[in-house]
Amino acid sequence: MSCWQTIADYGLRSLGYGERLLPRGDFTLCQQFTLIGSGMIWNIYFGVLALLAGFFLATALALGKASRVWLLRKASEWFIFVFRGSPLFIQFFFAYFLFVSLKSAVPALAPFTAAWLGALVVLFLNTAAYTGEIFYGALLSIPKGDTEAADAYGFSGWNKFRKITWPTMLRLAWPAYTNEAIFLFHATTLVFFSGFPALRQRGDALYYANYFADKTFNPFIPYPILAGYFILLTLAVIGVYGVVNARLNRHLPRNDRPKLKIRPKLIR
């Protein structure tokens, strides 16, 4: 069987298209590359959507934590503490069993027990908490002169936030936020190992890598392939975030522009 045939059969296997059965014997390198790559679709799906949605909640959380209203402040602090203080792995398990219990009470919530929605919600809340803390730190370190100058020019309320506070906060937080994004993509590999079932063997990249390692009893091929894919994904994330970083800093003199330094700390 040629490699093109394998790609046609298994390229979209993680979404349920193509060959129904996974390969059973005589595993070729092509099969391993194709299936693990197919699984990456899920990692990208979880990562991109959670980051996009999490960004907005994180801004709200940062503002809430810096708020003068007691209730908003406490609520944001607790939210951030709960999601940053406990392992994501346990959060997945808890959420899955919570959704399973809820399903028996409210049948309309059934989609939440599937990974595509349930795990996405957990990742979304989790990244919002981590990013919220980063944004909060950045919010506190906005130079006093910037906000005073905004006041002097007559900015206030929404306008001041939209044009001065928010862009400065993002600019200061961006290097740390890039790390958080990389870190989140890595965390997406936990999904199918933490309660959420991979229905009809539609899993993510690590799920397939683990499948091959179990079947061939040889971890030295599938895991390096997975590692290669993730290094490419990490480089892509750095590229995209670098473009945004350049835009956020475009008003600064060239020498003062901060470079993105990548220091991911991997486990959450």
Binding site: S86, F89, F93, T189, L206, K215, P219, T234, L266, I267
Partner: protein, 299 residues
């Protein structure tokens, strides 16, 4: 059937209700194993943290070595582990280490074995090289599994620690090292007497962050095949019918995992408070921004 029970009134579970039922339910033998597994987690942390620090120290020292291959090895170790999802490493190392150990024993113990070790999809070593031996007791298997887990954690977290210590070594003011050289110290003396004692203040924020990350990584023990708290929470929480247990109940896994969530929150909170105090103690009198702030606050 005799049961070992802690409270005398637990002898007849069918007749119990409310608090009494719960107190009996929570003291069954399986629940005791569940509580013991919290000890497993703490044991893992107690062994892994110093081992990882040792690995990290080795990695960082290697990375700044003047011998090129050693330096490449140190830098490579730090870079690879940082670029790839940690859980992939956990899954990888457990099999890879196991096969590595069996291969080494195979080479040593069965020199006249003529079949290939990798036969298609199988990894075959002679019976004497199996780890643990197939005749060994159950506890040997468990201890070996736990040992592999500790080693895996130490390798992965050693790379993170190496990264932190490598940064800390570079943060020590260079003038200090030059002064040491000017006083005639050899590179080895400079390293042990000047660089190492001073680097800890710079390393502590990174290391305390690493400790928090390490705490939050402990549930991954479950993936390594150790009977840890996640294993028992799933096991005990699943719904049980009266046929298999004296304490039938529905699906309570949600509550068990809520318990684990609270355990981890408390653990990280306590660590945070202790590490904050430690940092305050260490910065006292240091020529850093933190030390300066403390001095001003006191004055």
């Amino acid at each position: 059937m005799t049961r070992s029970v802690i409270f005398g009134y637990c002898a007849n579970p069918e007749t119990l209700e409310g608090i009494a039922w719960l107190s009996c339910f929570l003291t069954t033998g399986k629940h005791m194993s569940f509580y013991v597994s919290f000890g497993t987690v703490l044991l893992l942390l107690a062994i892994t943290a110093p081992t990882a620090l040792l690995f990290g120290f080795g990695g960082a020292s290697a990375a700044r070595s003047r011998i090129a291959p050693l330096s490449w090895f140190g830098r490579g170790y730090i870079a690879v582990v940082r670029g790839v999802p940690d859980i992939a490493f956990f899954l990888f190392f457990v099999i890879a280490l196991d096969q590595g150990f069996e291969w080494l024993r195979h080479q040593a113990l069965c020199p006249d074995w003529d079949e290939p070790i990798r036969q298609g999809n199988d990894f075959v070593v002679c019976a004497a090289a199996k780890l643990p031996l197939s005749t060994a007791d159950q506890w040997v298997h468990e201890v070996y599994g736990f040992f592999l887990a500790v080693l895996t954690f130490a390798i992965v977290f050693g790379a993170f620690a190496a990264n932190v210590l490598f940064g800390a070594m570079r943060a020590v003011p260079h003038a200090q090292l030059e002064t040491a050289a000017a006083y005639g110290m050899t590179p080895r003396q400079t390293f042990w007497r000047v660089l190492v004692p001073q680097m800890w203040v710079y390393a502590l924020p990174g290391l305390s962050n690493l400790w928090m990350v390490l705490i939050k990584a402990t549930p991954l023990l479950f993936l390594l095949g150790v009977e840890d708290i996640v294993f028992w929470a799933r096991e005990l929480g699943g719904s049980k019918t009266a046929r298999f247990t004296d304490y039938p109940h529905g699906d309570w896994r949600m509550w068990y995992f809520l318990g684990l969530l609270v355990f981890y929150l408390a653990f990280t909170r306590v660590s945070e408070i202790v590490l904050d105090r430690l940092m305050k103690r260490l910065t006292r009198g240091q020529a850093t921004a933190g030390g300066e702030a403390q001095r001003k606050a006191a004055a």
